[in-house]
């Protein structure tokens, strides 16, 4: 039984520095593993579309005609799924999050110049996607 059981703790807090991180005055430093947003190395991308197919929220769109890889930032749930499935490791998870915005933004990345060599790869990947479960890249 006590009436001022937390007294010590609050008096200590009163005279010590607050625990507050002071964001945004002091920017937050994120952990290396923090899942923030997806980066694409568009030049390395082969537009295979696996990421688009695997994305649980259908945030990623791959337009092969326009040679464009786009992500709806407001649909991405940072599950890291696309990164794990990407056959050419062109996707990566950055540790900073997408800024809030007044619009639902979609970031599109177009390949600078068409690379003919990239073309066969998606076709090679296609049968893999149809297989039952054997697409299980290791981390």
């Amino acid at each position: 039984m006590g009436l001022f059981s937390i007294g010590n703790m609050i008096i200590r807090s009163l005279f010590n520095k607050p625990a507050t991180l002071m964001y945004p005055v002091i920017p937050r430093v994120y952990e290396e593993k923090t899942r923030g947003h997806i980066n694409v190395d568009i030049e390395a991308c082969v537009l295979c579309g696996i990421c688009s197919k695997k994305c649980p929220t259908h945030a990623i769109l791959v337009d092969r005609k326009k040679k464009e890889w786009s992500i709806a930032r407001m649909q991405c749930i940072q599950c890291n799924c696309c990164v794990e499935y990407c056959p050419v490791n062109c996707l990566s998870m950055a540790n900073t999050y997408t800024s809030p915005s007044t619009e639902k933004i979609t970031d599109a990345y177009a390949k600078a110049a068409p690379e003919p060599a990239a073309k066969p790869v998606p076709e090679a990947a296609a049968p893999v996607m149809d297989a039952a479960v054997d697409v299980e890249p290791t981390v």
Binding site: P18, Y97, S99, T102, K104
Partner: protein, 144 residues
């Protein structure tokens, strides 16, 4: 004209149909590490006192009228901040039979805060962004 709406934004938080990850992060914003009261933010819990409506989670048949009502009961100027992917687009639940989509189907959303779950820093940024909209709305109100 100087407006005080940006100096004292009071929030109300309602959980649509989220996984409550974002809700917990909204609450975390109030706690010592993030302490949004630094910006004068108070979690009022009462739409009639609130300036900013923090909405998490997607909308469904049952909570649509509730969300509408909370929004309608807030006095002008008011801002809606949709927090998390579910609130912006329905997220991973978009294809569920009882999910109708993001909160913009029900109320006009002013700021979208991405993240699953949205980080406290993102929520703070989102609210700060909302303050700008709030000031604009206040200015428009004065003009009228």
């Amino acid at each position: 004209m100087m407006s005080y709406v940006t100096k004292s934004p009071w929030i109300i938080h309602y959980d649509g149909s989220s996984c409550n990850g974002c809700d917990i992060e909204v609450l975390a914003c109030l706690t010592p590490m993030y302490d949004v009261e630094r910006f004068g933010i108070i979690n009022t819990g009462n739409p009639k006192h609130a300036d900013i409506f923090l909405l998490t989670g997607s909308v469904n048949e049952q909570n649509i009228p509730v969300i509408k009502q909370i929004y309608e009961q807030m006095p002008e100027p008011k801002v809606v901040v949709a927090i998390g992917i579910c609130a912006t687009s329905g997220g991973i639940f978009a294809e569920c039979y009882n999910v109708q989509g993001g909160s913009d189907k029900v109320v006009p959303v002013d700021v979208y805060v991405p993240g699953c779950a949205a980080r406290p820093e993102a929520i703070i940024d989102g609210v700060v962004k909302g303050l700008g909209v709030l000031a604009e709305k206040r200015a428009a109100m004065v003009k009228k």
